[in-house]
Symmetry: C2
Subunit: 333 residues, 2 copies
């Protein structure tokens, strides 16, 4: 294995080991043990999930069936919540039959039937708390819980994701809105019962005193979108590139939009203005001087989750030293 | 293997076989044989590249070293052009030593030295024709060709990619601008020499009478960005999803931004308005009626190239019948 950062072929996804450790420790202090159910969609990497488990979080949140399968295969299937609706739950049923604990979100009679048909035994009722996506109307939650129990399912509680409130500049207004969303969720939970009230994310992790657990994921690696919220987590993940072209007006590195989640816009480069990304290039203007062909540059993604999904592996580094290579083994569906 | 489209787990990348065949045939008619050097970055799939080779195109364009390696491994390495600069060409040199023909773009003394050091023997001079990215100033092309020849390299000619002119609504103005860009390239070529003048893409494939070859790739599968140019190529690739939530105001399918290149914006769904994408969801409003949970939906990506890079494989289908499964085997770097 390559031992030095400087020898890595580029583009290369790299994690600063110190920053990762600090982010994980800081979150474990704020939300210890089962108060946090880390969302693996943010990194899709069992190597990183194991670090979160080592910090005391044994339950995990997943967004896809493949993520559940990979976590179970890695021995991290103690308590997996698939916080998403599926219409074919057979692969989840196979995991349960194999000894993993998998709890599935349901928000309709159809998704309840899919859970039963697939062999899943435990569910949470997914409640819409304002994000225009999945989740039942709050007033239907109790009825769906009854339906699920009548079909033999163990209803462990409720979840409601306030994704529309995750990245907000005004934290006072954010807190007020999140409180209202959680009021809605708790009212639904009163109709549903069960021990779980699951909600939240990195942008709201510190304003969830009333839920039983928070589903944050991005806190471990961070990105530029979350960075502007001044959370106590540091940028831990960048894409290392090589400058392949430089002239007095611009520089170009080999980190393009196939190496970057682009839904939140362009990435950032320290002391430079990013002009645009192409498939395999980022064109940028250094604030001072002219770049040098062959030099390395760190590119910071705007959105970490889809960035991870574009890479086969991530390199864990300390300074110029490579400590480990973690496959991004939860990709796909 | 699953034999019916309806049985595929979702999200699933699918190609309409008829549309693909027609697109490939139509392009082969317009630019037969070596007049087209299909760009594999658009699909990253040797299964599809083999169809292009069957249509008479034996030379291919690549954007990454991995694409060159995969094409050579698939027996499609007769004449590969890596239309991009690299600072470490050793893996390309290994391909050449193994019998593949690999020609590398160079635009600076440093990239010429990298070609020599890596064991690459053939290059083209990459000329900037207006896109603010790589490519030498046109007036430097002859000097760089001399330098390359002095270093023992075979200079096969020039390339210049007018990427800034690829998607333009006014085709009359586009043609005028492309002609000016090609004038610049041909002037540089007069200083460089060699048999290749390589340029163009899907958006300009039919206005390149003066170059020796066109590097188009997206024409085979298409996307919504190219669709608005009214080219004679049809949408051949979609992501099949399942509707996992529906209510009177909206529907949600399991095709999110991790299944879609998002740099050109949201995808499209026929007879519906797409509201937004999340990691694993697309939220949309059908024009008529209420969607049904469990129904399937085809999502059309805005940008095909990065969409392909997010999937492990693509399913070739005819109606509801699955004809083949092609791995997206040129991903990564």
């Amino acid at each position: 294995m390559t031992r030095r950062l400087a020898d890595l072929p580029t583009p290369a996804l790299v994690i600063d080991s110190g920053a990762l450790d600090r982010n994980i420790a800081r979150m474990a202090e704020a939300l210890p043990g089962d108060r946090l159910r880390p969302h693996v969609k943010a990194h899709k990497c069992t190597g990183l999930a194991r670090r979160q488990a080592d910090a005391g979080h044994y339950g995990f949140t997943c967004a896809t069936i493949r993520e559940c399968e990979g976590m179970a295969a890695a021995g991290l299937g103690t308590d997996l919540l698939l916080a998403n609706e599926v219409l074919d739950a057979r692969r989840l049923g196979a995991l349960v039959a194999g000894g993993a604990r998998v709890t599935l979100a349901v928000d309709s009679p159809e998704t309840i039937e899919a859970a039963v048909a697939g062999g899943v035994r435990e569910v949470v009722i997914d409640v819409n708390v304002g994000l225009p996506r999945c989740g039942c109307p709050p007033e239907d939650a109790g009825h769906l819980a009854d339906l699920a129990r009548n079909r033999g399912l163990n209803v462990r509680g409720t979840m409601g994701y306030e994704g529309h409130l995750m990245i907000v500049d005004d934290r006072v207004s954010q807190r007020r809105k999140v409180e209202r969303a959680i009021e809605v969720l708790l009212a639904a939970h009163a109709d549903v019962g069960g021990e779980i009230v699951s909600s939240g994310g990195t942008g709201t992790y510190d304003i969830h005193p009333l839920t039983t657990e928070v589903q944050a994921g991005s806190y471990a690696l961070m990105d530029t979108a979350y960075a502007r919220m001044h959370l106590p987590f540091r940028q831990a993940c960048t894409i290392l590139g090589t400058i392949i072209h430089a002239d007095p007006r611009r520089a170009v590195a080999d980190v393009g939009l196939k190496a970057l989640g682009m839904d939140h816009g362009n990435p950032s480069i320290e002391s430079a203005d990013v002009l645009f990304c192409s498939d395999e290039h980022v064109t940028f203007v250094p604030h001072v001087g002219v770049a040098t062909v062959g030099d390395r540059v760190h590119v910071v993604p705007a959105h970490i989750d889809p960035t991870m999904a574009l890479h086969e592996a991530v390199w864990l580094v300390r300074g110029n030293e490579i400590l480990d290579r973690w496959p991004i083994d939860l990709r796909g569906w």
